[in-house]
């Protein structure tokens, strides 16, 4: 960074390039400010409405931001199709989350103010994670997003298990971010810069030292924790089991998507040395451990927690592939995983009822009869999680595995394909319970409020849309991936041979 640019005053365009973050911060603070002033009973709907308005405003400002791509704030932020994609994705997830939380908050008798505020403020961090191209800023954004998620996990204050979840997440999460920070410091030591492009240029000119390998490994550990990839996944089931159900839907998608965005930058844009086996082993472990452990779960939240570990593994398969085919596969996977998982958790949180009492597979027995709409919606999400055609989950898996095969990762593909066959079993268990078992009538199904119905319609539409006409989203992710890997392209062939083993498995 040269001193001249440092001194210059940010232009108006700079602010437009972080407009969604600004909008979200303002709305978040307004909610925080209004919360103590309002009567608790009345505040629920109003604050939720403000939160919803905030996400919609943020979506609009993302669109405005997309009109002026480029760098901002002394090359710390870059707006391109890549960051716009992740902005839109995490904001949409939050929008659906707020819709599902509306009724959940009332049923669980949770005070809503800080809840919606934290969602929006956490969103600021996630948005920033996708547009920051400066490792220190990425770290700050990561912390903003993580801290709000730690608190959200503990929101069922009356339940000990929720507090446990929050504390566990906080302690382990801080540990992981420390790893990331350590990695950033080492990367600075290895390359003399914290700017992604400068690091990339430096490393691609052939100056790869041991330090750089260590730095990549440390950053991968930090981010691996955030995306719940094995072997950094042990926190996931406990945290997911204790946290409020809508928050789990959110945690398993939005912060994950943002963390994957950072991983894309760190591994692909930097063209990180030595990433291949790191990612390969983690992918194979995540898929296998996640799926095997999910087989024996009776608690639906735990089951979906292990499934999310497995899905992180599928995404990591694409990270082991060639950047030009791997990056779009990652982005498409996150979009369709978000649609189906947020939707699934919306159903789970509605059925959980007061105190999250009904969360075991047995409680879902006979749901097809008691509530055809909820059962049908959940069935679609589960079918998508299995990866059956007509749903986004199918194309997501398809792109990941074809990216892997195009990069000659035959063994990893076989592990992945056998895992997705294995995974079918536990998702099927839920479908079987819903449709083919007779349930007891003492598991009540509350009437479906309009907000939840809207959330489900959005997620179902997204899941089916991505499964039938994935073309537009796919084009978009392919364009953004090109922007991502272009800087390194000039020196890529030589670099790739060095990174990937000759007969890459």
């Amino acid at each position: 960074m040269n001193p001249q640019t440092m001194q210059s005053i940010p232009a108006a365009a700079d602010y437009i390039r972080i407009l969604p973050e600004i909008v979200l911060s303002i709305f978040g603070m307004v909610i925080m400010f209004l919360d103590p002033l309002l009567d608790e009973e009345k505040s629920q709907k109003l604050l939720g409405g403000i939160g919803l308005a905030g996400t919609i405003a943020a979506l609009l400002s993302t669109w405005i931001m997309a009109q002026s791509p480029g760098f901002a704030f002394w090359n710390m932020v870059r707006v391109d199709e890549f960051s716009v994609f992740f902005h839109a994705l995490v904001i949409l997830i939050a929008l659906v989350l707020i819709l599902t939380s509306y009724e959940y908050m009332a049923v669980q008798r949770i005070r809503a103010g800080e809840y919606y505020g934290l969602i929006l403020l956490g969103l600021v961090g996630m948005c920033l994670m996708s547009s920051a191209v400066e490792l220190v800023l990425i770290f700050i954004a990561l912390e903003i997003s993580s801290i709000s998620t730690y608190i959200l996990a503990g929101f069922r204050r009356r339940s000990a298990i929720s507090s446990e979840s929050s504390l566990k997440y906080f302690l382990l999460g801080s540990f992981a971010t420390a790893f990331f920070l350590y990695g950033v410091a080492l990367m600075f030591g290895a390359t003399g810069s914290t700017n992604i492009e400068e690091i990339s240029a430096y490393l691609n000119s052939g100056n790869v030292t041991v330090l750089a390998y260590v730095a990549v490994a440390f950053m991968f550990i930090g981010l691996g924790f955030k995306v719940a990839a094995a072997p950094f996944h042990v926190w996931t089931p406990d945290v997911y089991e204790g946290a409020p159900a809508p928050v789990v839907g959110y945690m398993s998608t939005a912060p994950k998507a943002a963390a994957f965005a950072v991983l894309l930058r760190v591994l692909f844009e930097i063209n990180a040395p030595g990433r291949f086996w790191l990612v390969w082993i983690s992918a194979a472990l995540s898929m296998t451990l996640g799926n095997v452990a999910a087989l024996v779960q009776d608690n639906v939240k735990r089951l979906l927690a292990y499934s999310s570990i497995a899905h992180a593994g599928y995404v990591l398969v694409a990270f082991a592939a060639r950047p030009d085919v791997g990056a779009p596969a990652v982005m498409f996977y996150m979009a369709s995983y978000a649609a189906m998982n947020v939707g699934a958790f919306a159903v789970v949180s509605h059925l959980a009822n007061a105190g999250e009492r009904y969360v075991t597979v047995e409680d879902y027995a006979g749901l097809g009869r008691r509530s055809p709409f909820l059962a049908g919606a959940l069935a679609i999400f589960l079918i998508s999680l299995i990866g059956i055609p007509i749903t986004g989950g199918f194309f997501a898996k398809f792109y990941v595995f074809s990216a892997a095969l195009q990069s000659n990762l035959v063994v990893l593909t076989i592990i992945g394909v056998s895992n997705s066959a294995l995974g079918a079993y536990y998702y099927l268990r839920l479908i079987v319970a819903m449709y083919m078992k007779d349930g007891s009538d003492d598991v009540p199904v509350l009437p479906i409020p309009a907000s939840l119905a809207l959330a489900l319609v959005i997620t179902i539409t997204a899941t089916v849309y991505l499964g039938v006409v994935p073309g537009r989203v796919l084009d978009s992710v392919q364009r953004s991936a090109q922007q991502l890997v272009r800087p390194a392209e000039s020196t890529q062939p030589a670099q790739l041979n060095q990174v990937a083993p000759p007969h890459s498995l």
Partner: protein, 505 residues
């Protein structure tokens, strides 16, 4: 009326009419009678549309007709490519022919969750037609997997006995197997750059596929396993009896009538079409498996105490003939295999309907619970005898033509194939006629059977078309073979370089 304008869209129409009907059913109010009538109209409409295929087919033209080829997804290069030849056209027709009968036969027997039943049935029909019309490998896989969910749900929800076990077994068995096919499909795409069946076939024939020689045996196996499980070829058949016995009548009819043919169609189209050399190399052991299937299926059928299990194992035996015919690589064998597929669809479909009719009256399939039924139910006994004779292979009925052609083809390929295969015909006469004798002849052994009502008008309406079809196919097989033969010759040209070996009609 000039209907030629329909040619370019007729396949799309035939394929998606049932799906559109299913969508409309979603919004039709839950009055069971209306739903049944609507489903019947939709399925008849699809049948009517499919007749257009036969009416305007160019009989002696090899290659695909009524083709549509539109880009669906740009990258990866997936096309909406549909087309039929003499092989697939009849299978489409078989599907549209059997579905209205399934609706009729389920008229009374399904009285719970009627709406969902017919939605699933119509969705299944679309998926089945799609399998036979798709010419893009991706599209094919898409439809192939799409058949799983509706069929599994039909068995699991509307079946009886150990229905959940049967549904899950069916689902996992076929899904795991088709994963191998998916891997092979993606491999082909990675090398050829297209999913188009015709293009891939040309590329392989021209030797333009890099690494094909080493990969071909594995690719052949990948496709083969998926199809062999579906057929089912011995020893992959164990899912079939379970699925059949527990499935509702309509499910059994479509399962035996059409789903199994997906496997043999796949063998014929893809294993022979794409890998002729591997098909030749592997023919001996595949034919051996087919012969084991013929004899083993027949022997096991003989000792079954359960009506539906007898018919299920007879399917294993009959489908063995189809595989034997296909891998004999003779014109007669392939023509015969095609004809057996159609004949088996009609007569086994009818047998399952008849089994379902007695189940509705007695709620059991146990043969010992029957006996002497010809006295109280003369019409039923007559239909049953007619269909049994068709299935046994009585000349002038449909079973005879196909089996005769297969056996004559098998003799040309290897006399032993013919000799062992021919015993299958004898076995099938043994077990079917013996079963018939135990069920219908003699004195009424259970007094309550005296009061069994004979066929209702509705049931007769469902049975008559199959009886007529069985007779017409037996008397005038050329109506079918004239259209099958050119397609079969095209398929053979790649397989049998020495055309003199082919002893035709």
């Amino acid at each position: 009326m000039n209907t030629s304008g329909l040619d370019p869209i007729i396949l799309t129409l035939v394929t998606f009419i049932p799906a559109i009907g299913a969508l409309l059913l979603l919004v039709i109010p839950r009055r069971d009678r209306d739903i049944r009538i609507f489903a019947l109209i939709v399925s008849l409409f699809a049948f009517g549309a499919s007749l257009h295929l036969v009416a305007r087919v160019h009989r002696w033209l090899p290659g695909f007709q009524y083709e549509v080829d539109k880009a669906w997804i740009s990258k990866p290069n997936i096309h909406y490519h549909m087309g039929v030849d003499g092989i697939s056209m009849w299978l489409v027709l078989l599907t549209t022919f059997l579905t209205p009968l399934c609706v009729l036969i389920s008229w009374k027997s399904i009285h719970e969750r009627v709406k969902e039943f017919f939605i699933l049935l119509l969705v299944l029909e679309t998926a089945l037609i799609g399998v036979f019309t798709a010419l893009d490998l991706f599209l094919f896989y898409f439809f192939w997997e799409s058949t799983l969910i509706p069929m599994a749900l039909l068995i699991g929800i509307y079946g009886h006995g150990r229905k959940v076990y049967a549904a899950v077994k069916f689902f996992l068995y076929t899904m795991v197997a088709s994963m191998f096919m998916l891997a092979a499909v993606i491999w082909l795409y990675a090398k050829v750059g297209s999913f188009d069946f015709v293009k891939i076939q040309e590329a392989i024939r021209a030797g333009h596929v890099e690494g094909f020689a080493t990969a071909a045996p594995w690719l052949f196996l990948g496709f083969f396993i998926a199809f062999a499980v579906k057929v089912p070829l011995f020893p992959f058949h164990t899912w079939l009896p379970d699925a059949h016995v527990e499935a509702p009548t309509a499910g059994s009819v479509l399962l035996a009538g059409v789903l199994l043919k997906m496997g043999t169609y796949g063998l014929l189209r893809f294993n022979l079409g794409l890998f002729p050399d591997q098909a030749r190399q592997n023919a001996p052991w595949i034919c051996t498996l087919a012969l084991i299937g013929i004899v083993y299926g027949a022997l096991v059928a003989m000792v079954q105490p359960n009506l539906k299990r007898v018919i299920a194992y007879s399917s294993v035996s009959h489908l063995g003939f189809v595989v034997l015919g296909i891998f004999s690589f003779t014109q007669a064998g392939l023509n015969g295999a095609m004809f057996v597929m159609l004949a088996h669809g009609v007569s086994t479909g009818a047998l399952f309907m008849l089994a379902g009719i007695i189940y509705e009256r007695k709620h059991t399939y146990e043969i010992t619970e029957m006996g002497g039924l010809a006295t109280p139910m003369p019409k039923y006994a007559t239909f049953f005898l007619f269909v049994t004779l068709a299935s046994v292979g009585l000349p002038l009925l449909n079973g005879f033509i196909g089996e005769f052609l297969v056996l004559s083809g098998a003799f040309q390929a290897n006399p032993w194939y013919g000799i062992i295969g021919a015993t299958g015909v004898i076995w099938s006469a043994c077990y079917l006629l013996w079963m018939y004798q135990r069920v219908f002849f003699g004195k009424v052994t259970h007094p309550e059977n005296n009061s069994l009502p004979d066929l209702s008008a509705l049931e007769q309406l469902a049975l008559w078309p199959t009886a007529v079809a069985a007779l017409v196919m037996g008397v005038a097989p050329l109506l079918w073979l004239n259209i099958i033969d050119p397609a079969v010759q095209t398929a053979l040209t790649a397989l049998v370089p020495n055309a003199a070996r082919v002893v035709g009609q």
